[in-house]
Each structure stands twice: as structure tokens, then as C-alpha cells.
Symmetry: C2
Subunit: 211 residues, 2 copies
């Protein structure tokens, strides 16, 4: 408890634990030991206990953890006990793919505004949301209380769009472009590279030849 710096890997695992606990809830299992969680998600039991220890004591010695209780603690820790309003800028291939994908909404991320500059797209609907011109960015962010922006524009426009999102008051940005973006210190920026996972796979498939 009171840990100031939580490893990113820990947070990622908490997210994985939470999904596994959800699965256990569906199977109506109500108590579980760290070793079982560990086996279920492929880490060590010490890892599970250590990760949880950053945030408090959630188990009972000799018994384990109550599944539902631990689940809701994790959801709260991850900030998933609320609904997040999200703006998507760039309704091209990747952008529309993300808008159609259900996985975000399932975890509480609601894409309530979609913007583009392409006149052919503006006015059409994407998953029930009308695509609007980027000019309305500032207005929509304020009226919808949007805190998170997804950047799925072409690489060349990425920094520009990012600057506008920051000016308009979002607190977090998820960058799907391959560009390195500059943001002020108070803005949380994360970069998502869909190809990078395939590239890690390709590296692992190929590199053992050369050692």
C-alpha cells in the first residue's frame, strides 16, 4: 500500500487477472487461491500476490480470495468502475475498425464522438455515431466530458491532431500512428502499435536460425 510507483507490467497483469476472475464468476466459483489464478493466466503465484500487495490486502490466509470481491477491487484499481467518454479522431480503416470493435465498450470505454476531415465520411454513421468535422472537437470534448482521445489519423496529421486534443482538454491520448508524439507532462500518452506484436512473432520465428 501507499506504493508511489507501480510497475506497468503489474498493471497489465491486474487487467489480465480481472478478466480471468470474470471468467471464474461465470463458472460460479467463489473462492480462489493465488496459485490457481497463477496457473490460469500463466504467471507464478508469488507474482500474483506481489502484484496485489501494491494495493492492499485482499485475501484471507489459509483460504484465498473471494472471486467477486477481488474482481471488483481490481476493476476499481484499474479505473474501470466508471464509464469513460472517448473521442476518436480519424475514421479511416483503423479508426472505423476500433469504433466497431465491442471490446472497448465492454470495459467501459464509450466512443461518443468520431471526427474526420473527409467530406465523404462526414455525416455518415459509424456504430451509431455520426462522423463530424474536426472543427467541432473542442465543443464535443467539453459537452461530453471527454477525457480520452484515440488518434487514428494518417501519420503526418498525428502531431497536429494531438496538439488540438491537448488544447481542448483531454487528459489521456492513445496513439495508434507510428509517429512519436510530443505532449505536455500532465498528459498521459500511450502508443499502440498493432504491427509490433506481429513483428515480435516474426522475430521469434526467424531469429533462432542465426544464433
Amino acid at each position: 500500500m501507499k506504493a508511489y510507483k507501480i510497475p506497468e507490467a503489474t498493471v497489465m497483469r491486474l487487467s489480465i487477472y480481472s478478466r480471468y476472475l470474470h471468467q471464474l464468476m461465470e463458472e460460479e466459483i467463489d473462492t480462489i487461491a493465488s496459485g490457481d489464478i497463477a496457473r490460469g493466466v500463466g504467471v507464478s503465484s508469488a507474482q500474483v500476490r506481489k502484484d496485489l500487495a501494491y494495493f492492499g490486502e485482499f485475501g484471507t490466509r489459509g483460504v484465498g480470495y473471494k472471486v467477486e470481491e477481488l474482481y471488483s477491487h481490481l476493476m476499481k484499481i484499474l479505473g474501470l468502475d466508471k464509464r469513460w467518454s472517448v473521442i476518436l479522431v480519424g475514421a479511416g480503416k483503423l479508426g472505423s475498425a476500433l469504433a466497431l470493435y465491442h471490446g472497448f465498450l465492454d470495459r467501459g470505454f464509450h466512443i461518443c464522438t468520431v471526427l474526420d476531415i473527409d467530406e465523404k465520411l462526414i455525416g455518415t454513421k459509424l456504430n451509431g455515431v455520426i462522423i463530424e468535422n474536426v472543427d467541432v472537437m473542442n465543443a464535443r470534448i467539453i459537452e461530453n466530458n471527454i477525457e480520452i482521445g484515440l488518434v487514428t489519423v494518417p501519420a503526418l496529421s498525428a502531431q497536429n491532431v494531438t496538439d488540438r486534443l491537448v488544447e481542448s482538454g483531454v487528459s489521456g491520448i492513445l496513439n495508434f500512428t507510428p509517429r512519436v508524439l510530443k505532449v505536455p507532462n500532465h498528459i498521459i500518452l500511450r502508443n499502440v502499435d498493432l504491427s509490433v506484436n506481429l513483428e515480435l512473432l516474426s522475430f521469434n520465428l526467424g531469429y533462432h536460425y542465426k544464433r
Copy 2:
């Protein structure tokens, strides 16, 4: 050189460096120092040199690196100097999104087979590829020399599809479902969770309140 165990973080950064070098090539810059790469992608210059040192000596002391040369070394290291044939299983929201997304093909990953079990989808085209019944999996993997499988089916079918991919002879699997999959040791498995990045963002946006 001759390093047996390369940190995953290093491989991810090589991928980022390669993209940055590509950008430099477009700007017709032909020589660059580790410090410049570092500034460009947001790491330390020692990090850049260390990462490269796992694979050889690519620079000239006092001068730096030749951009094109380093780029092609990196592409080779990452296994991106060839075209990979990829099978996509599950042509739902996420699957079709990935099939439409250009970023994979840009890095050499060609989705040449798309399978589903939904009769309504089978026979329709996705980015020029006809969606077929999962029954043809084995045949297509062999005839197209497919080495990589993308799993984008509902969570409940994920393990089953994975087993069939393994039996059919793929070497690498990219799992987009939230399930933990079991595969034999010789199969390279990577899990991609699109929501996890949003959740890291949400954690970082929320957690500072509580410390």
C-alpha cells in the same frame, strides 16, 4: 553478438527504430548518431547502442550510422525482409477490422486466407479475400505456406481454433481474444489485448488520486 536471450523490450524498440529510420530515409537524411535516434523516439542514446550491440556493430565511431544500411539490418533482424503468409480465423468485427487495416501488409504480413463458421459471411469478400469455412484450414495452410495465425473468434472457440491451427502446422499464433491459450512449446504465441492499453491509460488517469 551471439546473444542467446534478447530482451523483448529490445525487439520492440528495434521495431520503433526501424520506423524512425524509414521516416529519415524519406527526409533523405543519410547519416545519424545514436543520440539523434534516441531523441527521435524518446529513449537514451546508451539504450539505442546497447540494443544494437546485441546483433553486431553497425556504426562508425566518430560518425554514426548510415540510415539506409541500419534500416535494412533492422528489417532483416526483425524478419521483415520477407513476406509472411497469414491466416485470419474469425471474420467478425475485430477480424474484419484487422483484415482491412493496411498496417500489416505495409510491414510484410499478407492475410491470404480468412475463415469463419458463419454461413452469412462465408462466400463474401474481405479486402479482396473470400471468406471460407473453417473446414478448409488445413488445406489452405499447406497450400499457401502459412506460418502465422490470427485468432479473432469468440473467446469460447479460441482454444479449439488454436488447437486446429497448431495441428495444421502454423508456427506462430497471435491471440486477440481475452482467453489464455495453451500451445505446445515449439509454437510461438503472443497475446494482444486491445483494451489493455486503454486500461493502462485509465489506471494512470485515475490512480494518482489515491496515493
